[in-house]
């Protein structure tokens, strides 16, 4: 199997802080891959580098045999990488269906003024968008302002509008963070379904170990901006370096809360 998404020796420093120090990750086509690591280990920064929000100081990002290092976010999205954010990013003053349409029309290439300014030039995306809203279970809110959705519903909306543009790889930044257990199960279920039925590839950052270990076929552990180990979940869980660096607890123990660390409420991007 070839890696669909791959990074090589990514370096990124903010002032004196080396956020990424040679991070390497490989995501094979048709798999669900996990990225874990303690707070500040560079997971979100790596996501930002892959999706073009941050420019790496060194290293390269490869997608399907093509180098996409330093591409702008809209181009990264156009080549087929969609992502969600740790704290959901939606358009609060657009309706839910309009949120979907922003993403749906991104791949259109309007050739003339009518396609840019005409009303019906893009509404044909509406049907597909409604189907996806149904898939994540929020179609009843299609005409509500997205800002009035609950946090969990926003997570679902984010997932839906990333899907609407039909990306080959979907990067999920803490899909289960701050979400109630029922919804966590539903999100896991949807990811499994998309992966099994459509062969969609996922890479997810998550602190909920149960969630990660249950979903991912390959887990990469990041520490201080460098890859510590990468492999199937059962091997990663027993790797001594990982236990030292990150886990520090035996997952077989009947821990009531397998969430390993408290994520600060604010966004890492802002906290830098």
């Amino acid at each position: 199997m070839t890696a669909l998404l791959r990074t090589e020796g990514i370096m990124k420093a903010y002032g004196g802080v080396q956020a990424l120090n040679g991070a390497e990750i490989e995501v094979e086509e048709g798999t669900v891959a996990g990225l874990i690591g303690p707070n500040g280990s560079g997971k979100t920064t790596l996501f930002n580098v892959i999706t073009g929000y941050e420019r790496p100081d060194a290293g390269s990002v490869w997608f399907g045999g093509r180098e996409i290092t330093r591409m702008s976010p809209d181009k990264v999205f156009a080549v087929g990488i969609g992502r969600t954010f740790q704290l959901t990013k939606i358009f609060p003053r657009l309706t839910v269906i309009e949120n979907m349409l922003v993403a749906a029309q991104a791949k259109d290439r309007p050739r003339n003024l009518l396609a840019w300014f005409g009303k019906d030039a893009w509404t044909h995306h509406r049907k597909h968008a409604m189907e996806l809203l149904g898939f994540v279970g929020i179609e009843r809110h299609a005409n509500v302002l997205a800002g009035s959705l609950s946090y969990g519903q926003r997570k679902l909306l984010e997932l839906a509008y990333v899907l609407v543009a039909d990306p080959a790889v979907i990067l999920l930044d803490e899909p289960a963070g701050g979400v109630n257990p029922t919804l966590i199960n539903m999100i896991a279920d949807r990811i499994r379904l998309l992966n099994a039925e459509q062969g969609r590839t996922f890479l997810l950052v998550e602190h909920n170990m149960e969630f990660v270990m249950g979903l991912c076929s390959r887990v990469t552990v990041l520490e201080s901006g460098a890859t510590v180990v990468s492999g199937p979940p059962d091997i990663v869980q027993t790797d001594k370096r990982v236990l030292d660096a990150y886990l520090g607890v035996d997952l077989d123990e009947d821990e009531p809360e397998p969430v390993l660390s408290e994520e600060p409420v604010h966004n890492k991007e802002d906290a830098r």
């Binding site: 086509e29 048709g30 999706t51 929000y53 702008s72 976010p73 809209d74 990264v76 999205f77 156009a78 969609g82 954010f85 990013k89 939606i90 358009f91 609060p92 003053r93 657009l94 309009e98 349409l101 922003v102 993403a103 029309q105 991104a106 791949k107 309007p110 840019w116 300014f117 005409g118 009303k119 893009w122 049907k127 597909h128 189907e131 996806l132 149904g134 898939f135 279970g137 009843r140 809110h141 509500v144 969990g152 519903q153 509008y161 990333v162 899907l163 543009a165 039909d166 080959a168 029922t182 919804l183 199960n185 539903m186 279920d189 379904l193 998309l194 039925e197 459509q198 062969g199 969609r200």
Partner: protein, 355 residues
């Protein structure tokens, strides 16, 4: 009222407003009254142009006077250098629009790299650069400015003609703003307003979209600036590139309702005649009128911070809904099977398939 009736009522209302606007100078023929109308329409056009960019994208531009003044100066310089007289000057209007759009591109490429307060400050800085250029460049006429080519219209048709020209501009800009609002382009602009980074991550070419809206806004503002210049027959650096111009626009839009076309028009139609009228009343002229306008702004911010149109439409909805049961959105999360149960709800999801 169902959807169709509502559209019908809305369209009917607009037709009535348009007929009233067309009849206005026929009923009030006094030039001092019609000039209120002309200036109100000029400002309505400028406010709608401001709305096209700032109202949709959320980038508050305080540099619209750059386009307004540039339009006026383009008209004046071209008419002077090419010896144009009489109504043939109106053939320059497309040129003025093109100059406005052409200025918007480098202006936007610099200013649109930054957001929020920084953007506002950069637009003000660029505005002052243009004002200084109008004072100092060799072809602008310096501090005495330019005079417009002589028009041989008598006072009454003069104002009436300008009234209809300004009305055409206002209607035109409203149509453009409406087309943009319902289009893909408008949706992308509003997505940028809500979360620009997210929009970029969903494939929106944000710079191109912002620049496009800025150029359209600049072109319309330059055209109306040229017409304003021809109407008042002269322009100086401090009137063409007037720092109060942008503040007035913002006040108009915030009074009428930020983010809506009707808000921009309503604000202009209230504020501009009010200020013109106050300047003719000795007791209110000068700083008193400024105090009154400031007081109006404070009252608006206190009692309807979102402006007249959104606040009153909310009020109407509330009155209409009185006595009816409130609509409570139902909870949505369907029961979901845990684990990898293959019988989980499998709504087919359109395109995709294995890759």
């Amino acid at each position: 009222m169902n959807e169709r009736n509502r559209t019908f009522a809305k369209g009917g209302g607009l037709v009535v407003l348009l007929v009233l606007a067309v009849l206005f100078p026929q009923v009030f023929t006094n030039p001092s009254v019609t000039s209120y109308g002309v200036l109100a329409l000029i400002f309505a056009t400028a406010a709608v142009a401001w709305h096209i960019f700032s109202g949709n994208s959320g980038y508050i531009s305080l540099g619209q006077a750059v386009f307004y003044g540039s339009g006026a100066y383009t008209m004046g310089i071209a008419a002077r250098d090419w010896n144009l007289q009489g109504t043939s000057v109106f053939e320059l209007i497309p040129l003025c629009g093109a100059v406005g759009a052409a200025i918007a591109v480098p202006f936007g490429l610099i200013a649109l790299r930054v957001r929020r307060h920084t953007f506002i400050v950069v637009t003000i800085a660029i505005f002052f650069i243009f004002q200084l250029m109008a004072f100092n460049l060799w072809f602008t006429g310096g501090s005495s400015g330019l005079a417009s080519p002589f028009l041989t219209w008598a006072p009454v048709p003069f104002n009436q003609n300008f009234y209809y020209i300004a009305l055409a501009c206002a209607v035109g800009s409203i149509v453009v703003a409406w087309l943009i609002g319902r289009s893909r382009f408008g949706l992308q602009l509003r997505a940028i307003r809500d979360d620009e980074d997210r929009a970029r991550g969903l494939g929106v070419k944000t710079m191109r979209v912002k620049l496009g809206a800025f150029a359209i806004s600049g072109a319309i503002t330059a055209i109306i600036g040229a017409i304003w210049f021809y109407f008042i027959t002269q322009v100086q650096p401090q009137t063409g590139f007037n720092p109060l111009f942008d503040l007035t626009l913002v006040l108009m839009v915030f009074l009428g309702g930020f983010g809506s076309i009707s808000g921009a028009v309503l604000g202009a139609v209230i504020i501009e005649p009010l200020t013109s009228w106050m300047s003719t009343v000795p007791a209110l002229s000068g700083s008193v009128s400024t105090i009154i306008i400031g007081a109006i702004l404070l009252l608006v911010v206190l009692f309807m911070p979102r402006g007249i149109i959104p606040t009153s439409s909310e009020l109407i909805t509330k009155l209409r809904m009185r006595g009816r049961p409130a609509v409570v959105p139902t909870t949505t999360i369907e029961p979901v099977s845990t684990g990898s149960d293959p019988s989980a709800p499998t709504t087919s999801i359109g395109s995709g398939g294995a890759r």
